[in-house]
């Protein structure tokens, strides 16, 4: 039984220049205790997808009527069907928690860290103020912040970058969410801190039994933390499957391009091969397979220019946006 099902998610935005498609026909599922990585560059729609799970996108968002996000549990909740703000409250911070790239932006600067953590607990649980404070101190300790009894009464600007991110993780996990959405949580961190935070998240997933939707552009991070990965480009899934399969034997040209563009540290003489071209502006969305203009492996006039390829199974559990004849 899956924890979360996303089916045919299509998200568009109303802008001055017209209706822009950010996410198109994205479907995936997350099992309990699983880490699903969402990989993409700018314009891939990964953040928009994640925010849709908690309806955090702006008021100019248009969800396609066929889109469905279902959170399974004692009751199945149709997330996109929830219209009122207070119906969303148990989900936001309760069932699903989110941590962001910039911790300074998620902690209020004028409240102590403890005040915010306690507030979150009081909204989502029945704990008394004292019990909530004790739990918060325990969580700060669990994420590796030294002297938690002292730190809990400090303000977020008194924390270092890595500590802030840990505090955010502590706050997000204190309500025992079943799903944690991590939107580029380590991108702004130094690489040595990133290593520690990733190790922490891995340990906590095992201990708490929760799932993570981990969004990043860094394939190395995905390799270290994710069980399965979905590769997004311009709002469509290009490839999805177990992380070993996708990274070792990528089926789609875009995934291959991403892997090839990374510097190879074993061979410092090898040239760097970028993916040709540029990410098109949202106003100029390509027809057919959205990646086709930049795909160096395609012959001109191929079917990918006109028709949208379906997600074809390449291997058990591993799909790619290819026409069946190419998925052999």
């Amino acid at each position: 039984m899956t924890l979360l099902d996303v089916d045919n998610l299509t998200i568009r935005f109303k802008t001055d220049e017209g209706l822009i498609t950010a996410v198109e026909d994205v479907s995936f599922h997350i099992a309990p205790g699983e880490v699903l990585g969402l990989v993409g560059e700018s314009g891939s729609g990964k953040s928009v997808t994640a925010k849709a799970l908690m309806q955090l996108n702006g008021r100019n968002t248009v969800y396609d009527p066929a889109s469905r996000i279902t959170l399974h549990g004692d009751r199945d909740i149709d997330v996109l069907g929830l219209r009122r703000e207070r119906d969303m409250t148990p989900i936001r911070g309760g069932e699903i928690s989110m941590i962001f790239q910039e911790p300074m932006a998620s902690f209020a600067p004028a409240l102590t860290v403890g005040a915010q953590m306690v507030e979150q607990l009081r909204i989502h649980t029945d704990l008394s103020k004292k019990a909530a404070r004790d739990l918060s101190i325990e969580m700060l300790d669990r994420v590796g912040i030294t002297e938690p009894q002292r730190r809990i009464d400090q303000y977020v600007f008194e924390y270092s970058g890595g500590m802030r991110q840990r505090a955010m993780i502590a706050m997000a996990l204190s309500t025992r969410p079943r799903l944690l959405i991590a939107d580029e949580p380590t991108t702004a961190l130094d690489v040595t801190i990133q290593r520690q935070v990733l190790d922490l998240m891995r340990d906590l997933t095992a201990e708490f039994g929760m799932s993570i939707l981990f969004i990043t552009h860094d394939l190395g991070v995905i390799a270290q933390i994710a069980d399965r990965v979905a590769v997004l480009y311009l709002g469509r899934i290009m490839e999805m499957g177990p992380v070993r399969d996708v990274l070792r034997t990528p089926a789609h040209a875009y995934t291959r391009g991403l892997l090839n563009a990374l510097p190879d540290l074993d061979n410092l003489d090898a040239p760097l091969t970028p993916i040709p071209g540029d990410i098109p502006s949202p106003l100029e969305r390509p027809s057919g397979c959205v990646f086709h203009p930049r795909n160096p492996e395609l012959a001109p006039g191929s079917r990918y220019e006109r028709d949208v390829p379906p997600l074809t199974e390449v291997r058990p559990g591993h799909v790619a946006a290819l026409f069946p004849e190419d998925a052999a």
Binding site: G43, L265, L272, I279
Partner: protein
């Protein structure tokens, strides 16, 4: 042969807050750093936040104050002592040494066309004498940076991050400098574009005979483009040497930690750099 840029025992200190009595406590962003940058080289300056690498780069360009020590620039014909320059010398120096910024969104004025942005250094330094001459030089450098010439009349909001960075590079190179400080100039770009910009920088180095100081926190990026590396930690250079030597055999503990922290693309391996 004298290096192009020589940094001798440089210290850059900033006051922490204000103090009514006496001098306020100072934060030493750069402590007693000595480094030589040979002409034609591509030197990498690596470190995490707080290492002082950005401050060092800016100090060379006189965008940060020199508290102690000396920086000299000598390309054979011109000789500048960065710490003590007359206004006239500074103007001449600006034509020789330039900076590429990290954030392609903040580095371009949103109210100027691409052509005007690239032309600005030429006009400010008075290096061209007619609009036609300016236009010709703008088109020349834009073509070298692989900017579509039809895009010259567009405004920055029309472009993606990678394209903006190319415009930023074109602006940096318009006045024909010989020394370029690239401050995290690919950090804000997508991975597939990073490779493109790095290739462009290498090619420009060959075509225009440039010397680069490449500042980055990302070791995997510097690995491919830089021939010499200096690793900084808390304001000091803890290790320096040819890139391959550092990757093959890091001496300092911090360098080892830094290399070990790079996540491996192989899920069964923790770190990308496996050493025996």
């Amino acid at each position: 042969m004298t290096p192009l840029v020589r940094i001798e025992d440089l210290t850059v200190a900033f006051p922490l807050g204000r103090s009514l009595l006496g001098t306020p406590p100072m934060l030493k962003a750069v402590k007693n750093v000595t480094l030589d940058i040979p002409k034609g080289s591509f030197v990498g300056l690596v470190g995490e936040s707080g290492s002082g690498k950005t401050t060092l780069g800016r100090a060379i360009l006189r965008a940060a104050p020199i508290s102690a020590g000396r920086i000299t620039y000598d390309d054979g014909t011109n000789h500048f002592d960065i710490g003590q320059m007359t206004a006239k010398a500074e103007r001449a120096f600006r034509a020789e040494a330039q900076l590429i910024f990290q954030d392609p969104y903040a580095a371009l004025s949103p109210r100027m066309t691409v052509r005007d942005i690239i032309a600005e250094p030429l006009e400010v330094l008075g290096l061209t004498h007619s609009r036609a001459e300016t236009d010709a030089r703008v088109r020349d450098i834009a073509a070298k940076c692989r900017i579509n010439l039809e895009h010259l009349r567009r405004y920055p909001h029309a472009f993606s991050g990678g394209q903006r960075q190319r415009i930023s590079i074109a602006r940096t190179l318009a006045a024909g400098p010989k020394f370029v400080v690239a401050d995290e100039c690919v950090a804000a770009l997508d991975v597939s574009i990073q490779a493109d910009i790095l290739n462009l920088l290498k090619q420009l180095q060959r075509d225009l005979d440039l010397t680069f100081l490449f500042i980055s926190h990302d070791l995997s990026v510097v690995a491919h483009v830089c021939d010499y590396l200096a690793v900084m930690y808390l304001g000091e250079i803890v290790e320096e040497g040819p890139t391959r030597a550092i990757f093959a055999n890091p001496q300092h503990d911090y360098t080892r930690t830094l290399l070990a922290a790079i996540p491996s693309l192989d899920p069964d391996q923790r770190s990308r750099v496996v050493r025996n």
